[in-house]
C-alpha cells in the first residue's frame, strides 16, 4: 500500500490532546497544581508512546491524513451525525453486497460474475466499495484537451496502467482506448466500456449522448461492464433513456444488441435540466454489467 509516510509531528497533536483529556478527567478531584503536573506528565508519556508505536499506527495515520486534507471542513464532515434519512433505512456496502442485493434480483449469472469481478479487484476488493478510473477521449472530446497536462495518456496503455498501479477496481474508457490493449489487459483489471458519448467535434457543440458500439462488442473484448450516460432534462433524454434501458441499441447496422451478454451497466444521469451551452453538462452515468 502506498500510504503516506507517517509524520510524527502531525500525528502527535491529535493523540496528545486525546490523552491529555483523559488524564484531566481522571484527576478532577485533585488540586490545580497536581492537575498541571499530570498534564505535563501525560504529554511526555504520550510523546514517548507515539515514538514507540509510530511504525504500527496505520489507521491513526490514515485518519490524521484525512483530517489534514479536509482542513476546516474536517469536523463538519467527519462528525456530522444527524442525517435526515437514518442509515438504518439503507442497504450499505459490504463484502457480501453482490450476493445480498443482486442474489434476489433478476440479474443473470454472467452479470453476477462480472459484478463480483469488479467488487473483488484492487485495493478496495471485497470491501463493498469501488474506486474507478474513467477517461474519455476521442470523439467525446479531443485527447489534447484531456492530456495536455500529461501527454503520456495519449497512449491508451498508460490509462490502463494508471488504473492498475493505482489499485482501482476497474478502468472505464472508450471502445477505442480499451479495445486497443484489451488482449493484454482485460484479464488484469476489469474493463468498463463506455458505450455512449457526447460528440464535441461538431460546431456549434451538441449535447447528446449517442451509442458508439454494442454490448456484444464490449463482452467480446472481455469487459466486465458497460457504462452509459443520460443527460436528463436535455431534448434528447427520452431517446437516451430508451437506448440505455434496452441495454445498448443501436449503431444503425446493428438494430438491437442481444441482451444477455452478461455485462452489468453503470450509468448515470447528468441531471442538469437543459444542458448549458458551452460547457460539459453534468449527467447521470449508468454502469451495469452487460446483460442487463
Amino acid at each position: 500500500m502506498l500510504l503516506k509516510p507517517l509524520k510524527q509531528e502531525t500525528l502527535a497533536p491529535k493523540l496528545l490532546s486525546g490523552l491529555t483529556k483523559g488524564v484531566f478527567s481522571g484527576r478532577l478531584g485533585q488540586a490545580r497544581s497536581s492537575l498541571a503536573f499530570c498534564r505535563v506528565r501525560g504529554i511526555l508519556n504520550a510523546g514517548r508512546w507515539v515514538l514507540r508505536n509510530a511504525r504500527r499506527l496505520g489507521p491513526n495515520t490514515m485518519s490524521t491524513t484525512i483530517e489534514q486534507y479536509l482542513g476546516d471542513k474536517a469536523n463538519d464532515l467527519l462528525n456530522f451525525n444527524h442525517p435526515k434519512i437514518p442509515k438504518s433505512r439503507l442497504h450499505l456496502p459490504g463484502p457480501d453486497f453482490v450476493e445480498r442485493i443482486f442474489g434476489p434480483s433478476d440479474r443473470n449469472n454472467r452479470v453476477l460474475v462480472n459484478l463480483e469481478r469488479i467488487y473483488s479487484h484492487g485495493r478496495l476488493g471485497r470491501t463493498g466499495y469501488v474506486s474507478i478510473l474513467p477517461v474519455d477521449q476521442g470523439i467525446e472530446h479531443s485527447a489534447g484537451a484531456s492530456f495536455a497536462k500529461n501527454p503520456d495518456y495519449f497512449d491508451a496503455e498508460n490509462i490502463v496502467r494508471l488504473a492498475i498501479e493505482g489499485g482501482c477496481n476497474a478502468v472505464a474508457s472508450t471502445f477505442g482506448a480499451l479495445g486497443i490493449v484489451a488482449r493484454k489487459y482485460a484479464g488484469k483489471i476489469p474493463f468498463l466500456v463506455k458505450i455512449n458519448h457526447n460528440e464535441l467535434l461538431t460546431c456549434p457543440n451538441k449535447f447528446d449522448q449517442k451509442m458508439f458500439g454494442t454490448i456484444k462488442q464490449a463482452a467480446d473484448m472481455g469487459a466486465a461492464a458497460v457504462g452509459a450516460t443520460i443527460y436528463f432534462g436535455s431534448d434528447e433524454s427520452g431517446r437516451q433513456i430508451v437506448e440505455v434501458g434496452h441495454g445498448a441499441l443501436v449503431l444503425p447496422a446493428q438494430p438491437r444488441v442481444q441482451e444477455g451478454q452478461g455485462l452489468p451497466c453503470l450509468g448515470g444521469p447528468h441531471r442538469t435540466g437543459q444542458p448549458p451551452r458551452g460547457h460539459h453538462p453534468g449527467g447521470l452515468d449508468q454502469t451495469e454489467a452487460p446483460g442487463e
Binding site: 456530522f80 439503507l90 463493498g128 474506486s131
Partner: protein, 120 residues
C-alpha cells in the same frame, strides 16, 4: 450502479414550482424532512434514490484544479458517510504525473479503508 456528481445546488423543485409555475411532481418534505443543506444529507438523498442503497452510488470527482487531493478526499468522505459505494475519479488522477495520480487514487481508497470514517 449509478454515477452522479455530488449535488451542487438544492431547492430546484421548489424554485420551479414557485408562483404559478408547475414542474414535475413535488412535495415540500423533500427539502424539509428528507434532506438538509449539509453535503452528506444531499448525497444521502442521492443514495436513497438508488433504492435506498441497493444500487451503489458512486460520485465523480470533477475537474482538475489546485486542491485536487483535498477535494477528492472530501468527496470520498461525503460519499462514504452518506452510504455511497465509491468514487470515479478521472481528471484529478490523470492530469498530473502518474505517480501523483496513483497517490490521489490511493488517498481516495484510504478513506474507504479507514474504519474511523463511518456511515453517518
Amino acid at each position: 450502479m449509478i454515477k452522479q456528481k455530488l449535488p451542487e445546488n438544492n431547492g430546484g423543485y421548489a424554485a420551479l414550482n414557485s408562483g404559478d409555475a408547475s414542474y414535475g411532481k413535488f412535495d415540500k418534505r423533500i427539502y424539509s424532512e428528507l434532506a438538509s443543506d449539509h453535503p452528506i444529507d444531499l448525497c444521502r438523498y442521492q443514495v436513497a434514490n438508488c433504492y435506498m442503497g441497493r444500487l451503489g452510488l458512486i460520485n465523480s470527482g470533477g475537474a482538475s484544479g489546485k486542491n485536487d487531493m483535498a477535494e477528492a478526499v472530501a468527496t470520498a468522505v461525503i460519499n462514504k458517510r452518506a452510504g455511497g459505494t465509491g468514487l470515479i475519479t478521472g481528471r484529478k488522477a490523470f492530469q498530473c504525473p502518474m505517480r501523483e495520480g496513483i497517490e490521489l487514487l490511493n488517498a481516495v481508497q484510504d478513506v474507504y479503508l479507514a474504519k474511523e470514517v463511518t456511515v453517518a
